[in-house]
């Protein structure tokens, strides 16, 4: 039987959420990470309480993997509905592995290769015939291990790590199911096995494999965040769950509050007490926090605010992805409340953006937003293990007594630190931290001159950050016809779209903004080197035809060549969708205002 050398593969597992397909997807991702391979996963979870159709897609490869893949090379269908729903996501000549006990595929459809296996029956047989089909997922893992010649010993280790604390029976059954899948004579139905080529990535640097929420959480801990509060909401909850169990190890605590208002208030109490604290949420939760976040800007206290964006508005699409909270993050509170907004571009960046957020929050004593999203939160990637010792912050409150001339709200020193309670005030005057407009000492005042000065001060310190941001990095052509601009989780698909376009001879570059408020300086020079600028976002084009970032960029640069590609289907961008968007915009470069009515 022949063995085909492959560089990468996309496997889509389609079943119901209780079948444990996330578990085997996770195993495959972790295995890839341990094998110095690159991996990105993609999953859908039904928002129903238990059960419902669900998929887990794994894109693993020996080269750089940038997206979860538009289409699958392999589809594993556990049920008839899985087959019917997902067969069109399979590439032509792709392989359908289906459970003959539950699926009857249309074998006349000659686009695909069919591999029928009695997944349910063989699993029951393998684990002792109790009639329960628990373990089907592990059977399939065994089968895939054989087909792709994966490392058996490493996978058995992963299974042991996962199941050893669930009892001997569970572990034994899992291993039995795995072995049954692995020894299944797949060559009866499949005419070849596969072998990944040697990974180019194997530079000896150990990799870690995790999802975006885990990376964010670990970034916060590395950055010295020890306190926080939150309220459960999908897809933010896994961050608060992990902080709740991790922070006590470092002497801190995470509080589950009675609601979102209390959560942000608790976190601000911790900030007032002298800590860098964190709160976060998704969708409606952020709307509820906005008043208190305005107070944080006014009172000038540091805070990290995480928004795992999901489909909105209102309860919206709780388990889908969208980037429609950018304006809210920047402008969401009443009054002029300028604040720092950052967005990570992939799972690895979730870790590093948390470090950055902590640095800025401390330095400027102000809230910092991290805009992640559902897709980043739940997808798994492997990345180089960070140099922890280099980044690790051991937080200490500064109790240095304050001299008599201390003022909590100096106008000329915009980065003045808050004097945490416990600090002795040598002049005998203790400060009040306040949400009323105040003078430099913190006394309430409605003096018009002072209000203007204080508003300007709070704005200028955020502007000052722009001067220390790294110069934006352009991928692809540094000048040319088209510049693609994105933010957040669209980074991978945009990069792939640029790679594809350049193969077709396009002069095209990609700019990804990690700093959204303030934006880095000097973008106008970048823009001037391209004929057209397309901003790609997962939000609505709005009343005037531009997505949220596009609107901001147009407002700042008044550059009519900045235009918008948006979508609101609640799913991550496919490469094809981006390429189509570019095609349709580039051909009508002149009619800039075509989408504006009556123009």
């Amino acid at each position: 039987m022949s063995e085909e050398i492959i560089n990468d593969v996309v496997i889509r597992l389609a079943g119901n959420s209780q079948d444990g397909i996330q578990t085997i997807g996770g195993f495959l991702a972790r295995l890839a990470g341990r094998s110095a391979q690159d991996v990105i996963t993609y999953m859908t979870i039904p928002s129903t309480i238990s059960g419902g159709p669900s998929i887990f897609q794994v894109h693993m490869g020996s080269g750089e993997v940038l997206s979860a893949g538009d289409t699958a090379d392999f589809l594993v269908a556990f049920y008839q509905h899985s087959y019917e729903e997902h067969i069109d996501s399979l590439k032509e000549k792709g392989v359908l592995i289906y459970d003959t006990d539950n699926v009857e595929p249309d074998l006349q459809d000659k686009r695909f290769i069919y591999v029928g296996v009695s997944i349910t029956g063989l699993t029951i047989e393998a684990v002792g015939g109790t009639g329960k089909s628990k373990g089907k997922n592990i059977f399939v893992l065994g089968l895939l291990t054989r087909v792709f010649n994966l490392k058996v010993a490493k996978l058995r280790n992963l299974i042991q790590e996962r199941f050893s604390n669930k009892g001997e029976d569970v572990l034994r059954n899992a291993l039995l199911a795995f072995d049954a899948g692995y020894s299944y004579p797949a060559d009866n139905v499949l005419n070849r096995y596969y072998q990944f080529e040697i990974s180019q990535k194997d530079d000896g640097h150990p990799q870690v494999t995790m999802d975006g929420n885990q990376a964010l959480t670990l970034g916060l801990i590395t950055a010295g965040v020890r306190y926080g509060a939150g309220y459960p909401i999908t897809p933010w909850s896994t961050i608060m769950e992990m902080l709740r169990s991790e922070l006590p190890k470092y002497g801190g605590t995470f509080v589950q509050a009675e609601d979102e208002l209390a959560a942000v208030s608790l976190a601000l109490g911790m900030a007032y007490a002298g800590h860098l604290s964190v709160t976060g949420s998704s969708g409606p939760g952020l709307s509820l926090k906005m008043e208190a976040l305005g107070w944080a800007v006014m009172a000038e206290l540091p805070l990290i605010v995480i928004n795992i964006q999901r489909g909105g508005p209102s309860t919206g699409l709780p388990t889908n992805v969208e980037q429609s909270d950018l304006m809210q993050a920047i402008y969401g509170s009443h009054g002029d409340t300028p604040r720092i907004v950052l967005a990570p571009q992939n799972v690895e960046d979730c870790y590093y953006i948390a470090l950055e957020a902590a640095h800025y929050a401390r330095k400027y004593s102000t809230p910092v937003f991290i805009l992640s999203d559902q897709a980043l939160a739940t997808r798994i990637e492997a990345y180089d293990k960070p140099e922890l010792a280099e980044h690790f912050v051991d937080p200490k409150i500064d109790f240095t007594p304050k001299t008599a001339d201390f003022l909590p709200y100096t106008i000329d020193k915009p980065t003045q630190r808050h004097a945490a309670p416990g600090t002795i005030m040598q002049g005998g005057k203790y400060p009040v931290v306040t949400g009323l407009e105040h003078d430099e000492a913190g006394h309430p005042t409605a003096n018009p001159q002072l209000h203007m000065k204080m508003v300007a001060k709070r704005r200028d310190k955020i502007k000052r950050l722009a001067t220390e941001l790294p110069k934006p990095d352009i991928y692809g052509d540094k000048e040319g016809d088209i510049l693609l601009i994105g933010w957040g989780s669209t980074w991978g698909p945009l990069r792939e779209a640029v790679i594809d376009s350049r193969k077709n001879g396009d002069k095209i570059g990609h700019l990804h903004l990690r700093h959204l408020n303030p934006m880095p300086n000097g973008l106008e020079r970048v823009f001037s080197r391209y004929r057209q600028i397309f901003v790609i976002e997962m939000n609505d084009e709005g009343l005037y035809g531009f997505g949220q970032l596009a609107t901001l960029l147009r407002a700042r640069y008044a550059n009519p060549s900045i235009r918008s590609i948006t979508k609101t289907d609640g799913l991550t961008y496919k490469i094809r969708e981006i390429l189509n968007g570019i095609q349709s915009l580039r051909s009508d470069a002149v009619s800039t205002f075509s989408s504006y009515p009556n123009s």
């Binding site: 009675e258 007490a273 004097a419 005030m425 203790y430 009040v432």
Partner: protein, 311 residues
Amino acid sequence: MTKSNTNTIAPSKALTRGDLRADHPTWCPGCGDFAVLASYYKTLEKLQLPHENIVTLAGIGCSSRFPYFVNTHGGHFIHGRAVPFASGVSLSRDDLHVFVFGGDGDGFSIGGNHLEHGARKNINLTYVIMDNFVYGLTKKQTSPTSPIGFKSKTDPFGAVDRPINPMKKLVYSGATFVARTHATQVKHMGEMYERAIAHKGFSVIEILSECVEFYPGAFDDSTPRKGGEFRIIEEKTNDGTPEDEKRHDVTDEAAAYKLASLEWPGLFGVFYEKDRPSKNELESNIVQRAREKNNGLSDLEILEKTFSLLA
């Protein structure tokens, strides 16, 4: 919790009332809150708490202006959220003495749910609610404690909504120290302050504090110099006498509830007091257990260990 969170620099001199005075209060002349403020100064002077470790916090309302009139580390937060804010301070800084001041609107209306959860969790802090039965800062609207029939700008025909009973609310929510006093009864108010501060856990004092501008005479029924009667709860002394049988057992929740059901103006004093571990203690225990489990490892080593599980 960890050592680094605690200021260990020793205070230099005795704390006096003068040290504690700050801006002159902006309250209307004759407002009951002046007495509540004076009593706070006096109590702090008596207890000699380290000046820099006293924290005076509030939400929004007339009485919530308190922090500006007290020279301690202060925080003026947003409407209704003073309790969770103060909880964040308390839970992350066991070395501080956390005081929250506010009114009936802040505490029982917009912040009503937070009051219940602060009580349930038994956060270690002292909360003083100046109850005047009216919204004063916004100039006479109905409050959650306004009696039925009270005429205000939002109830020109008289209030129709049943007022909440603060004592009942606090007792059922799980507050571990619940007391009621009166701004004109300086001695009693001082005692309540001291007992509330001595209590470990969520201690609340409701102080009837007259709004002379928008609800004058509201508390005459319990003001002796206005012809009313200030009746104090007699607490059990466990002296074995037959009279003691009739006295109030402050640890008896049902009895507290019964006392809270008495007709207006009711009784004053401690309705309920119980020892129950505070969330501060319980969280400390969790930290201690987690630390023991990772015995000897530095924080960085603990983080390395977590990463190794994700390799």
